[in-house]
């Protein structure tokens, strides 16, 4: 089963490598990982999406907790949470396609953030399914490049 885990870590040199090394060394998988500073500049927040049965996930959370630089581990899967990601999509924007792109972007509440004579770059946020659906819609029009953040998450309430 798929789990979304938030990890609060000391904002120190090498922490990302400790986490990544733990996953690779123990054969756990990472589907996505996003990291940034939290409200407290000494603390970073990571969101890790991983997959495994109950025993694997139990080990993942225990092993994360065992790292000295890890302050807190929250597995969101058992609770209500908000999960979002952001994608930037650069797409072919030949004059005859521009109308169509804008229409699709509007449906998905996407925003054009960069324009050139041949391309549009569209920003979209949402849960994974929405981002996937958006990308699927744009594919036939000719996507040139995609950048996705991976999921970030927060408990509700």
């Amino acid at each position: 089963m798929r789990h979304t885990i938030s990890v609060l870590v000391e904002n120190k040199f090498g922490v990302l490598s400790r986490i990544a090394g733990l996953f690779s060394g123990r054969g756990f998988n990472i589907e996505s990982l996003s990291v940034a500073e939290s409200l407290d500049p000494n603390v970073s927040r990571m969101t890790i999406v991983t997959r495994g049965d109950d025993r694997v996930i139990e080990q993942v959370t225990k092993q994360l907790n065992k790292l000295v630089d890890v302050i807190k581990v929250i597995d969101h899967t058992e609770e209500k949470f908000v999960g979002r990601e952001l994608a930037l999509i650069k797409i072919n924007a030949e004059p005859q396609l521009r109308e169509e792109i804008l229409r699709i972007a509007e449906i998905f509440r996407g925003k054009v953030v960069d324009v050139s004579s041949k391309t549009y770059t569209v920003e979209v946020t949402g849960d994974e399914e929405k981002v996937e659906a958006f990308i699927e819609m744009l594919k036939p029009l000719g996507i040139k490049e995609i950048a996705r953040t991976g999921k970030i998450a927060m408990s509700r309430g």
Partner: protein, 561 residues
């Protein structure tokens, strides 16, 4: 007054109670060695950094203190990796100090530069690169704290040369607070109550103990629990010495080369109380068929050990000593005739012990390796500190030296490091100059760190080495015999040094023994000689370690002869 980084380091070590360092100097640590020159710390100059870490490890295992090792950058640091991994797998408290190139040069592929913090991340409990001299004393304090608390382990501190040469006002932190590191010592009383109820209800209980008993100094509590409840005890390799081997309730070691009684008891029990043991594959054999009828209580200070290999019905996170005290306290309030209730089970266990004891036959002509170990046990009255290498020598030692006390067997259990035993013996001898320290070795493994003979001679450490010389990598050959149709692919050591002459060349004493009648005499002689002695026992070349559970089989399926 301002002090240099190197001076602060030494001062912090003294404050941590460090009186001995095992080390090897080099360019990047010259400032540290300069500060060490006049410091009240004993420095043992080893001959290879791997030997240095193993020696610090042997010192730590024998004494219970944190072992300290100091090496230079680059190759000095990378040579410590096997030693660090060895200590990590067996949860031994070490602080490894490595030199590093100056901070401005880090990342530039400077001379003798290696990213040792990156390299050792997966085999240390934690590690540090000190980039600012003002962090130095806090980092050292934290390192010793992390190494020695919770589930102990090695901590590495990488020390750039410029940080060691810089100076600042020295402030020693009296307290440590690490928000991400707060080990649980106290077992949850509700869980302990469940364990107590389970033991009350069990018909065929067994205590299964590992190195955690020794690390938490819980042997008295274990003995009390076992005797009070008339519950037999089996140990892992790391648990040997945690319970007296000559006790009627002791079943000896379990697992791949465990005793028949241990493995049968673990297979037929209805309750395993695992204490400070991690149910590793050498113990469980085929996991799916391990103790299928048993409820499992698992007591461990490390939550990740619990339910990692074998799911626990009653997990208890905590220090073994604390949990056992609570458990005994609860059980003493209960009314139960333990002796009577467990008698049937104890009779069964005793029958397994009597019908299938460990055995070998010593003939007239060829020395059996097991005989050498039994004789070492006899001449040292079971009071020596024993280290081993890895392979047959290690398993025979585990089987035939009857360990009575904790911290008397020093062996690389988890990583299985050949070359561990001899430097570890040196470290143990440094910790206990008046004790007899024996390294029980094979002719293969002794050669992996034989250069440390010079260290033993230099510091007049009268370590004894018993080489069980079969001119084979014995355990490899045993597997090849049993599972690869006797194709002895590169396991035969066709060219061996003359170990007697080699010992003499180093300034130690060498003895050779080829006749069973001379074994005891040679051992006594070696103990009398106040120098390092290497005894080359020419033993039966194709003797095997039995019982043996083939890899991937359940532990009830033992090869017995």
């Amino acid at each position: 007054m301002k002090k240099t980084g190197a001076e602060i380091l030494i001062e912090c070590l003294i404050k941590e109670g460090v009186d001995t360092i095992f080390g090897y100097p080099g360019g990047a640590v010259l400032p540290i060695y300069d500060a060490l020159f006049k410091a009240p710390i004993k420095h043992i100059l080893v001959r290879h950094e791997q030997g240095g870490v193993h020696a610090a490890d042997g010192y730590a295992r024998a004494s219970g203190k944190v072992g300290v090792c100091l090496v230079t950058s680059g190759p000095g640091a990378t040579n410590t990796v096997t030693g660090i991994a060895t200590a990590y797998m067996d949860s031994i408290p070490l602080v490894i100090l490595t030199g590093q190139v100056p901070t401005a040069m880090i990342g530039n592929d400077a001379f003798q530069e290696a990213d040792i913090v990156g390299i050792t991340r997966p085999c240390t409990k934690h590690n540090y690169l000190v980039r600012d001299i003002n962090d130095l004393s806090t980092i050292i304090k934290e390192a010793f704290y992390i190494a020695s608390t919770g589930k102990p382990g090695p901590v590495l501190i990488d020390l750039p040369k410029d940080v060691m040469a810089a100076s600042t006002i020295f402030k020693y932190p009296e307290k440590v607070h690490i928000r991400g590191y707060q080990p649980t010592y106290e077992g949850h009383i509700g869980q302990v109550k469940k364990a107590s109820d389970a033991l009350m209800a069990a018909k065929r209980p067994i205590l299964f103990i590992g190195g955690g008993i020794i690390l938490s100094s819980a042997y008295k509590e274990l003995l009390e629990l076992s005797e009070f409840t008339h519950t037999p005890v089996t140990t892992t390799l790391m648990g040997l010495g945690g319970f007296p081997s000559d006790h009627p309730l002791s079943l000896g070691m379990c697992g791949m080369h465990g005793t028949f009684s241990s493995n049968m008891a673990l297979t037929n029990t209805d309750l395993i109380i695992g204490i400070g043991a991690r149910f590793d594959d050498r113990v469980t054999g085929k996991v799916d068929e391990f103790a299928t009828g048993a409820k499992i209580v698992h007591i461990d200070i490390d939550p990740t050990s619990i339910s990692k290999n074998i799911p626990a019905h009653i997990p208890i996170v905590g220090d073994a000593k604390d949990v056992l005290k609570k458990l005994i306290g609860l059980l003493k309030k209960e009314k139960k005739n333990w002796k009577k209730d467990n008698q049937e089970w104890l009779n069964q266990v005793e029958e397994w012990k009597v019908t299938h004891p460990l055995s070998y036959k010593q003939g007239k002509n060829i020395i059996k390796p097991q005989y050498v170990i039994e004789q070492i046990h006899e001449v040292t009255k079971g009071e020596a500190i024993i280290t081993t290498e890895v392979g047959q020598n290690q398993m025979w030692t585990a089987q035939y030296y009857k360990f009575k006390r904790p911290r008397t067997l020093l062996t690389s259990g988890g990583l299985g490091t050949m070359g561990y035993g001899f430097p570890a013996a040196i470290g143990a001898q440094v910790a206990f100059p008046d004790k007899i320290v024996f390294d029980i070795a094979g002719d293969g493994s002794i050669q992996m760190n034989i250069q440390e003979l010079a260290t033993a001679v230099q510091y007049r450490l009268p370590v004894k080495v018993a080489i069980l010389n079969n001119s084979f990598l014995g355990m490899v050959r045993q597997w090849q015999e049993l599972f690869y149709n006797k194709r002895y692919s590169y396991s035969c050591m066709e060219c061996q040094p003359d170990f007697v002459k080699l010992a003499e060349a180093y300034g130690a004493v060498g003895l050779r023994v080829e006749n069973p009648d001379d074994v005891k005499k040679a051992l006594k002689e070696a103990i009398e000689i106040p120098k390092p002695v290497l005894i080359d026992f020419i033993v039966d070349r194709e003797e095997n370690v039995y019982p043996m559970v083939p890899a991937g089989k359940p532990i009830s399926e033992m090869l017995l002869v």
